[in-house]
Point group: none
Chain length 181, copies 4
DNA sequence: GATGAATGAGAGTTCATTCAT
DNA sequence: AATGAATGAACTCTCATTCAT
């Protein structure tokens, strides 16, 4: 029984279902079946708990995505594979995905956390750039392309958590159509 | 000098720049140059203030969009016009747009507010459906299509508040490519 | 009914009788018959309350002493008058005097408070210096002389709060014997 | 390496330099290089630690004073010797002396501790009484005399920790002048 | 005997809301 | 209608103490 894990799991569940404000440390302790003080042995403050959870989930997400990446495959295939993985993650880990959405663009997430997380996207950038070099992806700023696809797909998942296989495919193809030249 | 307007304007500024949690009613009163009690003459509670502001901004956004809508124009032209208007709004009213983003998918926004707001999208739905009937837009669930485009474009604006004309056009065309069949 | 006064009076009583640590803000509120929040309208923090009370009492003490000072009288007479006043104050305001003793040499009292208070002693210094010039008080550093007398007399009062007229006179004469040359 | 000693030494240092409130048991453990639990093998509670340290220091102080006492010497000589010893102790053991000052007149020190400590003064009382019998010390209540001298000298040391030989002598002579008839 | 993770009571403080003016 | 002093529930966080190892 890992206490740190329990605390993070409890916090995740409560933050997503009730909002951060409505989730007191006392409540997290109750859900995690530990005393309030115990949580402060693992996380210096509520804010730090929020940040560590954010970084941890984002890292897990990108790890999942990148693990299965075949950098020799054709760009379109890589693009679809990556986004399928991302959507799979979002569905299998719905709370986690909602959490990322909740705290993105939020003053709760520190500059430091943003930095740690910003590096994770590099391998994905690589795919888009390869596509641009091959002339099959639009010649726009890569970050612009990624943000657009991320936004479109994320919003779709958040709004339709019970999405089916067919719909997932359709959405990823929409994303592809958006960026392909 | 409209007091209600002042309060909403003050709240908007403070919520977006400091976060909702860090914005006490006292602070809003100070910014709006009125007493704390006064605010409670216009809004029963902080939550209601948040909700009314949300509905008001969203209504203003859609009003702006729809006002200039030429329902007889070709679908692609309407699509582009709508999204240009939306982006214009987002840029000219950056605080307002950030506010909408902040509180979307948030337990702070009540079911009632969501409902009020959900109707505003009808005219936009109409464009997509016309496109589908004409066979120039993908034959997918209309809401799915709208969510995807909204997500992609919104995320782009939020992440790049100083976006230029050229980039805006590119992004809207990406959105069009995503939904066109 | 002055609320600020009530709070200070309540804090004074509780701090002296139970110690500062054992006196929670809640308890002070109860004694002062006001809510916890009310106290924070008058004092930003517990520490500031402690400091303001300290400065206020010390100021009152010296005001009392100095008020009745006849700077033309002979030095010995002034010396005795000052210390009689001080002892009178200590007896009539026993809680106040104990409070000063409690928080002297304490990290709770800020540098700023110390400074404010340090100026109050000037008129008393003047008496000792006059005595030194006249050759009737020992030619030692004036502060040294004052500290010794203060220490002796204060300790006596603190240890014997029910001291009588005769004893007071004896103690002040001891103090005079200590400093006279 | 005596663990109990280490704990007391650590506590002494931290209490005096940071105040008792700011000194947690955890911190004492860190300074004493032992676990938190270990301290509870030697002292049932923080309060008991404080009390035992108080009694121990006060005992050490009086032991030092009395050790060198020549009860056959003239009263004035004994008086000066005793107070020189006391001041020596205060200077060589500045932390210890500050500690005694910190906790005197404090609700932290239990009645029991006060009692244990009150007996230590007997040999000093003897000097004053002898002086009174010989008519060279004022015919006042002995405790009154002792308290006055203690107060004057202690306050002087606390306020001037870097006092020099000459000043010490002056102060002790002031004390003598105060009590001599 | 030695340890320190776990605990939860209780601290100081904040702030949405009320209500007498 | 306008005000802001008053309120106290509820927050985050601390820390003396316990106890399984």
């Amino acid at each position: 029984m890992n206490k740190r894990e329990n605390i993070l799991k409890a916090a995740l569940k409560l933050f997503v279902t009730q909002g951060e404000q409505a989730t007191s440390m006392k409540l997290i302790g109750k859900e995690a079946k530990c005393g309030i003080g115990t949580m402060y042995n693992y996380f210096c403050s509520k804010d730090i708990l929020i940040n560590e959870l954010f970084v941890e989930i984002k890292t897990k997400l990108f790890k999942t995505i990148i693990e299965s990446l075949d950098t020799n495959a054709p760009v379109k295939q890589q693009f679809i594979a990556v986004w399928l993985k991302a959507v799979d993650f979002a569905i299998s880990n719905h709370l986690e995905y909602r959490y990322l959405d909740m705290f993105s663009h939020t003053p709760k997430i520190s500059k430091q956390s943003e930095e740690k997380v910003s590096k994770l996207i590099y391998p994905v950038i690589e795919i888009y750039e390869k596509g641009k070099r091959e002339g099959i992806i639009k010649d726009l700023d890569t970050i612009t392309l990624i943000i657009f696809t991320t936004g479109g797909i994320t919003e779709s998942i958040i709004n339709k958590p019970d999405i089916n296989e067919q719909e997932i495919k359709s959405i990823i193809l929409m994303a592809w159509d958006a960026v392909k030249s």
